[in-house]
């Protein structure tokens, strides 16, 4: 059996080592930086920023007006499929510039998706907290609402809004804010009941903190990880749902355009003009992917025990 002399070697090593943690070398630092900010996360961050930039500057960036029709140039392919440079991403079935439409769509879809995702998450979390805090009949009532929302086809809810309130963009965003809250509520309720059983929340409440403070400052960050998953799932769902609802006469309507709309009208051209469907789909997938990746990364960052 191999016996290592105890003293000498250990001593030598102990001395060779500068006290405390060794100051990291350059590649070491780079490695750490890449660990905290993996390239994928950086890429996703960049993409999200780019998309947000596009959303802000859509008007300035677009080479054409998004509704400008050129029937003679309809369905011309994008430049990478052999099209001309006058329409980089080609044109649609009315000869409108796909790039310009894409820019306008990004602006409107992100507006809708971001705001309504936030609305739905807020509503869901709030109701989840309420249920977990009061239990009893309040909880039962909220669970009834959850089941109600889950069983009611969203089409009918949309019809309700359409029938009674009409269709304006703010109203539509509010309606989409009703999408997916039930999932957030159920998750929040479950996790909060569990959290309430744990010491930290009870401890702060016992110090005299208001329930508001307990839930927002302490419980919320602790249940955020699963919520983030739920919210990042809602995000693309809202974008796609919008396209479905625009067929009901709700939401973004021609001549205005949205990613969902482009995908919806592009589906019949999958074989003849695939770019009409694939380009907006790619934007949706990439953006959702970025948002989800950032969400997961944020989730890990929020958890100091995982760092």
């Amino acid at each position: 059996m191999k016996v290592i002399p105890f003293s000498a070697q250990a001593q030598a090593q102990a001395q060779a080592r500068t006290p405390g943690s060794a100051p990291s070398s350059r590649p070491e630092r780079l490695r750490r930086l890449l660990r905290s900010y993996p390239p994928l996360v950086l890429l996703c961050g960049l993409w999200t920023l780019a998309i947000l930039g596009v959303a802000l500057l859509a008007g300035e960036l677009a080479p054409y007006a998004h509704s400008q029709i050129d029937l003679q140039a309809r369905l011309s392919p994008p430049i990478f499929m052999g099209g001309s440079a006058s329409h980089w991403l080609g044109t649609d079935e009315l000869g409108r510039d796909v790039l310009s439409r894409l820019l306008a769509s990004i602006r409107i879809s992100l507006l809708v998706a971001f705001i309504s995702t936030i609305l739905s998450a807020t509503l869901g979390v709030f109701l989840g907290f309420l249920a977990a805090h009061f239990r009893g009949w309040v909880e039962q009532l909220i669970l009834i609402l959850v089941d109600f929302q889950a069983s009611m086809p969203f089409m009918i809810i949309a019809l309700a809004v359409l029938a009674f309130l009409g269709n304006t963009l703010p109203l539509f965003i509010a309606l989409m804010g009703l999408y997916g809250w039930e999932r957030a509520t159920r998750i929040t309720r479950g996790l909060t009941i569990a959290a309430n059983e744990q010491g930290y929340a009870a401890a702060v409440a016992d110090i005299g903190a208001s329930p508001m403070r307990v839930y927002l400052v302490h419980v919320l960050p602790n249940i955020a990880s699963t919520l983030i998953v739920s919210v990042t799932l809602t995000f693309p769902e809202v974008i796609l749902l919008e396209s479905g609802l625009s067929f009901l006469g709700l939401g973004v309507q021609p001549p205005m355009t949205s990613l969902g709309n482009m995908v919806g009208y592009g589906r019949e051209y999958l074989q003849t003009a695939p770019w009409l469907l694939l380009i907006p789909s790619a934007v949706i997938v990439l953006t959702s992917f970025s948002v989800s990746t950032l969400g997961d990364w944020l989730r890990d960052r929020l958890d100091p025990t995982l760092r």
Binding site: K2, V3, S7, A10, Q13, A22
Partner: protein
Amino acid sequence: MNTPHNGADALVSIRNLRVAFDDGKAKVPVLHGIDLDIDPGEALGIVGESGCGKSVTWLAVLGLLGARAQVSGTVYLRAEPLHTLRGDQLAPIRGKRIAMIFQDPSCALNPVQRIGRQLTEALTLHRALRGAPARAEALRLLDRVHIPDARQRLDAYPHELSGGMNQRVMIAMALAGEPELLVADEPTTALDTTIQAQILALLAEIRQDSAMALVLISHDLGVIADMCDRVLVMYAGRVVEQARSQRLFQHPQHPYTQGLLGALPDLHRAPERLVPIAGNVPEPAHMPRGCSFGPRCRQFQPGCELHAPVQRQIGVQHHVACHRAGA
């Protein structure tokens, strides 16, 4: 009994065990080269300040530290190298040859499985028992750790048992594999003295019956004194002193050991103000140069900060890592 440091026929022999954790910003060394040997059937006590690496040492031996820990050094179990084994290769060792009882029993048991199932799982694994025989054996183990009403407890969930009972279930589970070495990490902290006494008596009994070696980690010097043949004192990731227990408690040599014993309150003397060791435990990331106890040491003298002291033998089976001790 052989002397430490030759490790020739030791049951477990650890050499220069180092562990560092990567916290994402920097590598924080936690163990700075632990050497220790345990003979078959021996009871070794480990004491030391909280956070000095007592638990980490044994988690490292069993490969349970997770991906962010960087472990180096050698570990031999009866001359078999364990440090070369990775992941699942260690599984046949764990529980079967070296079993461990964790610090907090109520967190360490799976909350959603019945006690009986968790016990029989270990029995199936190590003794190939299944079905009714496994259940009978589980029952016997529970009886062995003096759990009253054992038959019913088999179907209980951990949260339905008191802390003391969970502690005993953990012990029963550790005993299921009939291990050669049992590492008990603070097995009695959460218990009152009467139950503590029961459990210690139980451990002693099992050692007698099966010649199992025991590593007992505890803050309670009384418990250590009661149970162990030999005591190891750790400070900041190093072993600073080891001796037979009587000798250690009577003639502590390292200033840290002396400080520990001096800080002990006494039940039978009129209370006086306690005397803690001055200063604070160094952070693992900012270890002082040289002797890590230096800044808190009453006997500090120039030279102590130059290099870390190595262990030297200063008496029969008594080793100290201090520049001044025995001088």
